[in-house]
């Protein structure tokens, strides 16, 4: 694997959170009785005509601008192919002039992934297969089609092949999802199908031209995405190292057996015969509209990470920042600072103890601020602080100082610590002799004795420092 470079480009289809479909006024709703959200356009009835949904354009622009794309005048094309869930036997999509082009997305780890385009298109209906094994097409007797989903607005986000690891792919999807949710464009749930990810994977020796890619479909979770990419990478390496070619094809990820499989290959690849959709007119959002959408974009995850890192001094690509922003708890951390607390300490506590506290944690910011003040004032050891914190979380808040006092915590001042260390050295001559003589292992016994003597109130780190300082 070390001699090979993995090149991954992700195509993500996102269902937009509009009230109605892209080209007709039927409800855009998941979970209704089959074929109850239908109209002449949805069913591709003779004589039906599409009319573009303004809100779908608004949301598509939010996505494009959030991904740093240029929004441009654009057109719609017909993509012609036959499939039972395609009511018109063509899909209205965007071909050579899409709405959003040339953007990028920065991953938490700092990698920048190019976004080639984010265009609008309509979704297909859904088919279920009867009679085959596990509801699959293979071996089925018939298929049932529900057109509720047909015509739902989609945005297809095409990422450039800038991803090099499965982990980056997972980060990309996670980050993209956070952006989509933040701008209100979609709920982007892979498990529900409102976000679908296809991965294009190819392998090459570093420095070589791009290898032949395979497209992997049917990935239903972020975790599966990583597994599928890794499997496919190894499959291709095995082929290439055996001197064989990788055949360009579409492959299905099978979650149960953990492999990608080729679909039955067709004799003729479909020719989509793209041509401009004559039933629609061009879309050229006015500058005022574009600028309003841009101005109304909320703070996006990357910007929030930067803001939090600057406030706390933590590493912007570090785990603490990523986790807290992902949970939406960054505003809270900053509020703790605004309430007089220490944001650095707050970041650590929120990351470690607020996993199930939601974006509005149950501990009022002032209360957590009170805790961090005790810490930075040297009044509590880290261990003690953890215990006070646990109580704050359990009770949904409280007075940190009072809790500390009730628990009998009082951090020992430097004089008391010095005195404690004197006693420890005196009472543990053997251990001290070893430590003084250079055996660092003896430190443990000395610190343990200190903690015992102080009933846990000594700051272990401070004791350690004092012992080292005393060493001849």
């Amino acid at each position: 694997m070390a001699d090979w470079e993995m090149v991954v480009g992700l195509e993500v289809h996102v269902e937009l959170a509009t009230a109605t479909k892209l080209f007709s006024a039927s409800p855009n709703r998941f979970g209704d009785e089959p074929n109850t959200n239908i109209d002449p356009v949805t069913l591709g009835l003779p004589g039906a005509l599409p009319v573009l949904n303004r809100q779908a354009v608004e949301l598509a622009m939010r996505i494009g601008l959030a991904l740093n794309c240029t929004v441009q005048p654009c057109t719609f094309h017909r993509k012609n192919y036959f499939y039972p869930d395609m009511p018109k036997a063509y899909q209205i999509s965007q071909y050579d002039v899409p709405l959003n082009v040339d953007g990028w997305l920065d991953l938490p780890d700092g990698t920048r992934v190019g976004i080639e385009r984010a265009h609008m298109e309509e979704d297909t209906g859904k088919s279920t297969h009867l009679g085959g094994a596990g509801g699959r097409i293979h071996g089925s007797d018939s298929s049932l089609i529900d057109f509720n989903r047909a015509g739902v607005p989609l945005v297809e986000i095409v990422g450039r092949p800038d991803i090099r690891t499965a982990e980056q792919a997972r980060q990309y999807v996670g980050e993209l999802r956070a952006i989509l949710v933040a701008v209100g464009a979609s709920d982007a749930k892979m498990e529900e199908g409102s976000m679908r990810v296809d991965a294009n994977v190819s392998m090459r020796r570093p420095g070589d031209e791009l290898g032949t890619r395979c497209e992997i479909k049917n990935v239903n979770s972020v975790r599966s995405l990583g597994r599928a990419i890794d499997y496919e990478a190894h499959r291709q390496i095995d082929l290439l190292e055996a001197g064989e070619r990788v055949v360009q094809q579409t492959r299905h990820w099978d979650e149960t057996d953990g492999r990608t499989h080729t679909l039955r290959s067709k004799e003729d690849a479909d020719d989509y015969r793209y041509f401009l959709e004559p039933d629609l007119v061009p879309l050229a959002p006015e500058d005022e509209w574009i600028e309003r959408v841009r101005a109304e974009l909320p703070a996006l995850p990357a910007a929030r990470r930067t803001r939090l890192a600057e406030a706390t001094g933590a590493l912007v690509t570090g785990e603490a920042i990523a986790v807290v922003v992902e949970r939406g708890q960054d505003d809270y951390v900053l509020a703790v600072g605004a309430a007089g607390g220490d944001v650095g300490r707050a970041l650590v506590h929120v990351k470690e103890a607020f996993a199930d506290q939601g974006t509005m944690p149950m501990v009022p910011p002032e209360d957590l601020a009170g805790l961090t003040s005790l810490e930075t004032g040297g009044k509590l050891t880290p261990t003690q602080a953890k215990q006070v914190l646990a109580e704050l979380v359990a009770n949904g808040g409280g007075d940190a100082a009072a809790i500390a006092a009730a628990k009998g915590f009082a951090a020992m001042d430097i004089g008391a610590l010095e005195s404690l260390v004197d006693h420890v050295i005196a009472d543990n001559a053997g251990a001290w002799a070893k430590f003084a003589g250079g055996e660092d292992k003896a430190m443990g016994a000395l610190v343990g004795a200190a903690m015992k003597a102080s009933k846990g109130q000594a700051d272990g780190a401070a004791v350690t420092a004092l012992l080292r300082a005393r060493r001849p």
Binding site: L45, G47, L49, P84, K88, R273, L280, V281
Partner: protein, 477 residues
């Protein structure tokens, strides 16, 4: 207008003013249908009960003092490619035989709102592809003026229905001349408006960027009234022009004094001498009425046929892909979906439709798009630009509508290319999107009617109608 047929406006006036009931008007037309329909076959479906109910509703409105609409009680025949809820809409194809749409086309809603009474769905060339109505899966329609001859196409049924007195108004669709050419062959008025003036919602699509719905009537004034009733912006059609219906009736009688009437000197040859003679007479009539004739050129006119027969089949091949046996219409059972598609479409489509689907699919296919469809779109631009230049020198243009009078049934059925030539003079205005109409102007060979085509610039319907009215006055006078 021929003897015995009253204009739609006269009928509506009678009904609105209580001189006749809508029921009586309807019965008169139903009697005509009973008498001659077996021989003419203008209709796929005659709607006796529905029409009687509609007429009764009009009469009730009049009795109760409510406004029954500008076309109150007017019997209307609709080309069978316009959706009528609950009523079979077949496009004269086996693939839609018996299909009942669950919704009405916008024009149908507007006609009913105007008080019109729908008497039936008329025969057409299958999916509007043809110039003689011989491509219908249900048998041809015959020309009421000579039943050995075609009524023209593709809207032959609607043209014949009006010519035979089965209805006072017919609606057809015009993609390459399918209103104007049958109008000319049947001796009635036929109009294609500017693309986008009449909504296409509910019109079964043939070629989306070319199709327009329009009227067949006995008089120019009737056609104006119908367009005023059915035209105007429709939010359900994205290509619908965001303006109200054109104002036509008010200026109908304004005459042609001072208008510049264009003669296209580089028009393709091929019109019969009797047709040419009628066109010359039309120029003379307009000059006599105060217009001047100017010579103009439309150099790309002659390439219209080629551009059309690449663009229209291409769009049609996509529009007709939905007929796959899944959701409606004919299905031929098969062991798998793909085979079902192949067999259903093979059995359901007639020869001309298959030819055009094949041609259109080819013109769009990988490697051929630039040579065929792409190139045709550029030719379209040339034609539109040439017309625009001509309209700087002329207010309207005059040409033949059809190269000949009605021809015998079977004359061109084994020669598609010869059939395509019927649309030589009508096609270019579909490509440019400009309005054009055919006005009956005397008789040609064998005493058969000749139609003169009036062409106008984009949204120039009012001027076009003034010229048409003058021609009609001359032809009657």
């Amino acid at each position: 207008m021929d003897e015995g047929y009253r204009s739609a406006l006269d009928l509506a006036d009678d009904v609105r003013n209580g001189r006749q009931t809508a029921a009586a008007v309807l019965e008169h037309h139903l009697a005509a249908i009973e008498l001659r329909e077996p021989e003419i076959h203008a209709f796929n479906t005659v709607l006796v009960d529905e029409a009687r109910a509609a007429a009764a509703a009009v009469d009730a409105a009049v009795a109760e003092g409510r406004d029954p609409g500008p076309l109150a009680g007017v019997p209307v025949a609709l080309k069978d490619n316009m959706c009528t809820r609950g009523i079979p809409t077949t496009c004269s194809s086996k693939i839609l035989d018996g299909w009942r749409p669950p919704y009405d086309a916008t024009v149908v809603e507007r006609l009913r709102a105007a008080g019109a009474v729908v008497v039936g769905k008329t025969n057409l060339d299958e999916f509007a592809m043809g110039s003689s109505t011989e491509n219908s899966a249900f048998g041809p329609t015959r020309n009421p003026l000579d039943v050995t001859r075609v009524p023209g196409g593709s809207s032959g049924g609607s043209a014949a229905a009006v010519a035979a007195g089965f209805a006072a108004v017919g609606l057809g669709s015009d993609t390459g001349g399918s209103i104007r050419q049958p109008a000319a062959l049947c001796g009635v008025v036929g109009v294609k408006t500017t693309y986008g003036v009449v909504s296409r919602y509910g019109l079964v699509a043939f070629a989306s960027s070319l199709d327009q719905i329009g009227p067949f009537t006995h008089t120019v004034a009737d056609a104006a009234a119908v367009i005023e009733a059915i035209g105007g912006h429709d939010p359900a059609d994205s290509t619908s022009i965001p303006q109200p219906a054109p104002v036509l009736t008010a200026t109908l009688g304004d005459g042609v004094e001072g208008l510049r009437v264009g003669r296209i000197t580089d028009l393709p040859k091929g019109a019969d001498p009797d047709v040419e003679e009628r066109v010359e007479a039309a120029f003379a009539a307009l000059v006599a009425a105060g217009a001047t004739v100017v010579d103009v050129q439309v150099p790309a006119f002659t390439y219209g046929l080629t551009a059309y027969y690449l663009i229209a089949p291409a769009e049609a091949s996509s529009n007709l892909a939905r007929y796959d046996g899944v959701r409606y219409g004919l299905r031929v059972e098969a062991p798998d979906t793909n085979t079902m598609y192949m067999r259903t479409r093979e059995a359901g489509f007639g020869d001309e439709v298959k030819r055009r689907i094949m041609l259109g699919t080819y013109a769009l296919s990988a490697g051929y798009y630039d040579a065929y469809y792409g190139k045709a779109l550029k030719v379209r631009r040339l034609i539109a630009d040439d017309f625009a230049r001509a309209y700087q020198q002329a207010d309207v243009l005059i040409s033949p509508a059809s190269p000949s009078v009605a021809f015998p049934l079977g004359d061109k059925t084994d020669n598609p290319l010869a059939m395509y030539l019927c649309d030589t003079y009508t096609i270019p205005s579909n490509l440019s999107g400009d309005p054009a109409m055919s006005v009956p102007f005397g008789r040609g060979a064998d005493g058969l009617p000749v139609g003169v085509q009036v062409l106008a610039p984009t949204l120039g319907e009012a001027t076009m109608f003034r010229v048409a009215q003058t021609l009609e006055d001359t032809a009657r006078g």
